[in-house]
Subunit: 360 residues, 2 copies
Amino acid sequence: MGEKRAEIRRAPIVGRYTQDELALASRNSGMPLEALRYDLTPAGLHYLLIHFDIPATDAATWQLRIEGLVSKPKAYSLADLRRMPASTVRVTMECAGNGRGQTSPRYPSMPWLEEGVSTAEWTGVPLSILLEEIKVKESAQEIVFHGADRGLDRGIEHTFSRSLIPSEAMRDGVLVAYAMNGEPLPPQHGAPLRLVVPDWYGMASVKWLERIEAIDHAFDGVQQMGSYHFRSVPGEKGVPCTRMRVNSLMAPPGIPDYYGRRRNVDAGRAEILGRAWSGNAPIRRVEFAADGAWQDAVLDVAAGAHAWRRWTVRWNAVRGAHELRCRATDETGAVQPLDPPWDVTGFGNNAAQRVEVSVR
Amino acid sequence: MGEKRAEIRRAPIVGRYTQDELALASRNSGMPLEALRYDLTPAGLHYLLIHFDIPATDAATWQLRIEGLVSKPKAYSLADLRRMPASTVRVTMECAGNGRGQTSPRYPSMPWLEEGVSTAEWTGVPLSILLEEIKVKESAQEIVFHGADRGLDRGIEHTFSRSLIPSEAMRDGVLVAYAMNGEPLPPQHGAPLRLVVPDWYGMASVKWLERIEAIDHAFDGVQQMGSYHFRSVPGEKGVPCTRMRVNSLMAPPGIPDYYGRRRNVDAGRAEILGRAWSGNAPIRRVEFAADGAWQDAVLDVAAGAHAWRRWTVRWNAVRGAHELRCRATDETGAVQPLDPPWDVTGFGNNAAQRVEVSVR
């Protein structure tokens, strides 16, 4: 599985979107923001980022091999895994590139505007149970997760593979999942098996998982070292994308224009509903602003350690054009910035959402 | 439910895509073309075009009213409908705007490249049974179907509503559906009830169906008379979009580049797989070409009167860059054109697909 090294850099884009960006947006799906109303995103509305093609897989013959620096390498069938202790975890997952499409200049990749986030309940075997069973050796520095999806990125052919250090891999809530919202995984979410890493951006949750490998060095795959790093200038080593930055969204109120999606709201008291999340700590506060006048939103009780938190706010809508925004703060004190943080590749854009409305 | 008349025309676009187009592509979903491998598109991969927002609906209290020029107006609950005779129909559905994003100049709307088509099995009550039960009067000229989704298009506020003439509405296979692929409709596909009109472009299959109305004139709603017409110049009356034009797609062979989606194929014999469909007649022939050398594909047996037909072809892939195309012919003799047919609003683009591949 050696990866050919011949990195091709893509030139940044300014202004309107290319057909290559559109082709990615057409096959990958965002969560329509009105679906913020659901605690659990209905399966067909969960955001999708599929780097290559959805592989043709067969649950009946699928095997998950665990090998490398382990004392008891083993291949697990789906039936084997279903007989093991199961856990169900509610997880808010966000693409590390969410918001990239609003940055300028922007990196040529999936041009998410803001809809690359969703919440699901995943059921499977805690990864810690599997790693204890096959006995990872002391010499293992990283655990690598290999998907069955294969293609080229930056001129390098590879399967989608990512690694975790053992302490992250053993963390509570990390699953080898075979079900989503109580149903077998659908093809596009990794059928029959995927990794789920709560609190981290979605790239860590490797789909179509067929091989787990313990290695004695830092994994240097394209999706680990080439991509998914915060970089202020091209080519620098950068800082890996790991846990989700604090973020929030509101369901845009009123009714939309078909083209442009501008919102039309009736004058009077409106209830605004949204969600807030952070991979680093619980949400402490959500603020809402109409035309720059910030006020505190009301937080619902938390719905699990790894899931977004619902919030609401009353807004007295008066006739005219308005800009609505929201921003969250987590228990580390991190707060969403008002403008996109700079990143060469457009990762981690957690700038406070803007919603333009016309009140009539 | 009067619709305000103040039509706003949108200026055509040339070249790269606007953020308004991207916003539509981000919330609506195309079917990734590798999903052409499935006879039945898995639910979360079925294409979606949602004009406004997905409405918040409640199956327990939902009522479908049938009224207007009928002898026995009635409101049906979901339980009422589930007690009536049910039918299941396999339907290939395509957006009338599929392929719009490849036309130039193009109309500002959902910029589908080619992925706005899918196949599902819908279960529900044949519409003919309902219309017989409530006794549509002789004076009825059209049957109007009103969805619960509301918004503005071209400056006019309206619910998504469409009509059929009685003979089309009574046609075999037209359903008031409450299930998709054996499961209750998901929110994004019209939960709890939708119309399904086989053979027609998708706009006829009104989602979130809450009212059926028999009227004595031609329905002039925005989605009936303003949109969904073939027009060669702006403002002309045009010809309504009805049945799907003959069309076909192949699953692009090999493995993709992440950005650009160009295909990389190993030299040697490759099997190409695709689907062909037409709303007007059965598929008679599918042809495949590498670099302009057309050959006949092999058709599988038809999978129902309203569903796409699978085809395959062997291709001897030799090193270098190639352009693959496919085109279908139906029993009326209609054949896909090689270049997009001109239409002001970008409807009905059934030009033969192009797939660029690098054979290595």
